[in-house]
Symmetry: C2
Subunit: 588 residues, 2 copies
């Protein structure tokens, strides 16, 4: 039986019963299970391969859930899930969907938080410490942070805060020498010096923050880890345990190319090749190629990423082609944003590309450092769409509500390739205002109507079809659904209705709406985002004075999780048939 030990582990208590040889065998079985699941359905791979031994040692030494673990980002918790009653979800294909890719308290009492963003573990854990102490309770609180998360402001704030605490708090720095892409920032040089000197280097970041510190070189050696963890168990003050692990441990391709194997699609173990080839054009590839071309002609352009270049199409080959005009700041979104404002102030053309969910970190910087200062920064938002990442921690459908209401910022929603390229160029070439470009979450679409490349007149909507009675305003990548809807309604009504590409999500075309109310009594808005705070509500508020009917379509204000897109669309009535039903109902 391939999973002789693992299949018998129902809780961490079972780990404690194993002897040293069995623990080594367990590590092998966990790696097999990682191959089994990730090879078939994909997932975070390198981080989990590196965490196998440390996770076993943690559960061997500590007593979860009395002792509380907080795993940063939590994409490295597959081994933890296997040891806390969820091994079947890695062994047995039928149970793959029982677990998500992150810790989740709904799955297990051993998962403290639902976490998917980086750099939060030390803060969250410090709160557990504070409440534990106030209640006079005991037990260890252990934050496990690594994979580039240390450079995030929230983590650094928390380390600084922890430096003043005075009770049990263990911070394990899982140092695998690698962020998601490269590590960036001076502190990673510090970690390297500390590794080279077995923790003895004189300028120690953690000690400088006021924290006690120990170094463990053998981060993939179970007995050594057990020893080291026993030494800090029940410590009476905050301490950092700096553990040197190997990302991708146990699979040569992943050990050698740590960036590519951070997250793996389904793959063949023998060859290391993906099972399904992804070819063809995407908005990410269009973006990368276009920016390389623009940088070739204009050295004032700066493309900025925060540790996730791969997720936005900037594979190493593309980044290298951008040379000095590409900057990866590491996990440091706030810094990236303010730096972009500084670049713009000195005549550069900065563009910050990230996923919408991670852009939630920069609300204040966009508001103050950028928009208040009228800095012409382009925010190139990927996955700001129901078609994007679908874990509740990563869904990007709050983007319109978050950014479109910031004064001075122009939020553009392209509907097709040509318009997307036009918006990108427009944004880079103007000096007046910050721009968000909400990159479509769909495949690349061709323009069905002439593209107006001028966006200098704010909030100027495009009339694609001019009809009467009903007007459909379909924003961004929901334009196609809007088009189908207007066709459907026209057919039902037996007359042409109006179809509009709003282009802007940050305001309404008052002039156009004033004209349309003359021969339209029903307005339909569609947007790929949560309705609250979004585009449709602006239209509804403007038209509220007119006494016409406005039907707004978008998503409910709730946390969507691992959904089927079509089901969500149906539930929100975002289909031509359902919208027609509503139009009929409200006109009665």
């Amino acid at each position: 039986m391939q999973y002789k030990l693992l299949s018998g582990i129902k809780s961490p208590v079972d780990v404690k019963r194993l002897n040293e040889d069995q623990l080594a065998d367990l590590a092998m079985e966990i790696r097999e299970a990682l191959f089994n699941r990730v090879g078939k359905i994909g997932g975070h791979f390198g981080p989990n391969l590196g965490m196998v031994e440390l996770t076993i040692a943690l559960h061997y030494v500590f007593d979860s859930p009395r002792d509380q673990f907080v795993f940063d980002v939590a994409h490295q918790t597959y081994p933890h899930k296997m040891l806390t009653g969820r091994a079947a979800s890695y062994i047995d294909e039928e149970h793959f969907q029982d677990v998500c890719g992150f810790t989740d308290p709904r799955e297990s009492e051993h998962d403290m938080f639902l976490i998917g963003h980086t750099s939060t573990s030390v803060s969250l854990a410090s709160g557990l410490v504070k409440a534990r102490d106030l209640a006079g309770k005991k037990g260890n609180v252990i934050a496990i942070i690594g994979d580039g998360s240390l450079s995030g402001g929230e983590a650094l704030e928390a380390l600084d805060f922890a430096g003043e605490m005075d009770s049990n708090f263990i911070i394990i720095v899982n140092d695998n020498e690698q962020s998601i892409a490269e590590n960036h920032g001076g502190l990673y040089k510090n970690l390297a010096r500390l590794r080279e000197t077995a923790g003895g280097y004189e300028d120690n970041l953690f000690r400088a923050m006021g924290l006690d510190y120990r170094y463990v070189e053998e981060g993939n050696d179970i007995p050594m880890l057990i020893h080291a963890l026993r030494e800090v168990k029940d410590v009476d003050h905050p301490i950092v345990l700096h553990v040197h692990t190997q990302k991708g441990k146990g699979y040569k391709p992943a050990e050698e190319d740590r960036e590519s194997w951070h997250y793996a699609p389904p793959f063949d173990r023998e060859s290391g090749k993906p099972l399904y080839s992804r070819t063809g054009e995407s908005y990410a590839s269009l973006f990368a190629d276009h920016m390389i071309e623009r940088i070739r002609r204009d050295k004032s352009i700066v493309v900025v990423t925060a540790a996730v270049p791969g997720a936005v199409g900037l594979i190493p080959e593309k980044r290298n082609a951008m040379g000095e005009n590409y900057v990866d700041v590491g996990i440091a979104e706030e810094h990236a944003t303010a730096m972009c404002s500084g670049i713009a102030k000195n005549g550069g053309k900065p563009l910050f590309v990230t996923n919408a969910t991670f852009a939630q970190r920069i609300y204040d910087q966009v508001h103050q450092d950028v928009s208040l200062n009228k800095s012409a920064v382009t925010f190139h938002l990927m996955s700001s769409s129901i078609y994007g990442m679908s874990d509740s921690t990563h869904v990007g459908i709050s983007a319109i509500g978050m950014f479109s209401n910031i004064p001075g910022l122009v939020y553009l929603s392209p509907t097709n390739r040509e318009e997307y390229m036009a918006m990108l160029d427009y944004s880079l070439d103007q000096n007046d205002h910050p721009t968000v470009i909400a990159v479509p979450g769909t495949a690349v679409k061709e323009a069905q109507y002439p593209v107006d490349r001028d966006f200098s007149k704010r909030n100027k909507f495009q009339i694609c079809e001019r009809g009467e009675e009903v007007a459909v305003l379909a924003l961004g990548d929901f334009f196609d659904i809007g088009h189908e809807t207007s066709d459907y309604i026209a057919k039902k009504l037996g007359k042409k209705v109006t179809l509009i590409n709003p282009r802007f999500a940050s305001g309404v075309d008052e002039e156009l709406l004033d004209e349309l109310v003359k021969d339209h009594d029903t307005f339909v808005t569609l947007e790929d985002g949560i309705l609250d705070g979004g585009f449709g509500q602006k239209v509804a508020a403007y038209l509220g004075r007119k006494g016409v009917r406005v039907l707004t379509y978008g998503f409910k204000k709730k946390f969507y999780d691992r959904y089927n897109v079509q089901e969500v669309l149906e539930a929100c009535r975002i289909t031509p048939e359902k919208i027609w039903e509503d139009v009929i109902m409200t006109r009665r």
Copy 2:
């Protein structure tokens, strides 16, 4: 003549012409001018007193604007403004209003950014460096950071990033041993060790971040500062100059009580007493006293602040009364928020109190660390109101749009004292969801209608008066204007109209609205916030299907700056007379 030298300084060039004795005299004149302005109209005082000599030395050694200064928070730039052509605004009462309290590029080419939030200078300056280098230009870029800003995530991210840069970049750490209130966090212990050892302490935070480092003890000695600055001018790599200054320098009360004199109201120089006594109850004082009382009975409550306790009524006496149940994390809003989630997870009752403008830093943490995790954290937002701080950097009227659209979060807007207290207690006593309490920006008001203390049924609005035709929904501290408006309209119409206290800004009472549309054709919403993304738009979107008229009142989506409240209200038509005009117009 009292300002013999200062009145002759039209630009930094004039500073360079002075000899050593004259520079010392200039420092005295600048202090006089600080007394003159702050004594009469109030302002940041201690930080500016401490910066006098450093500012003179900076302008003596460097060549602004070719050399570029970025002052963090920028509330310590009064001396800088005096030396860059704006001395009259400190000398001459008639010109006091010519300048704002922060750097502002609209005022001078020597001000790089409009800045009022902390911890942004190193990031902004790093962008200036990047663009300078790409353009092949020369000149020094100097970030000046201090007053507790170092502990902010954005600053720490930027220091880490700077540790990898390789061209001229000077970071001056103005170490005045004081945040706004106390300093908090381990790194301030590190600064203390560095001061004690004249920069020789072995674990050096800045070196650990990869930065070069020098220490200057005599931060209020002009010749020593000039020497130190000359040594780093034109440096070819990033360097930290750690300068020890004295907050409040030159005024004994401010040297001794650095917290109280951080920001001073108009005061008498001789006695140090404020010119106008502020007495009486405020929502801040109600809050402090109520929390002390609750903590006395319930040790699971934790009141968290981020460096600005004074601004929210938590003067030292009140904080001390809260003991261990009060935590000031220093400038570290993100950490504060996630820590609160951890406290809630382990059974505590956390409340984070800050100003709305600073809460812009925590959008992602509220969304992910708190709301996604269903942590019952109370966010007690002060100054989320047009009646609050009126500098464009500090206006809090984006709060509704920012927070009310986050899934799972309940946004409460009290209209009077009793309701405020009820909401505070409700929020602390439930375990289901995070809550924002938008504390009224007005003086404390008494309840005019019975207060329903139950907020467990989400989005349940209160009908205060039940009439017909017109319904006025007046949120939070705009309830009184709404009340006046409904009275005015009733009088004009000659019939009773409906007045509603929505209580919740995060949703609409669909049941109630469904009922009201039966005998109302006009709905008026009022809110103390920007309309876009706010409460009224939710109402308008819901009622859009009904074909009734909705008039939404709030502020325009723009950056308001040092405004007269009544003028803003008039411009936005938020008066009973103007609203009545609009009602009449739309009903024609």
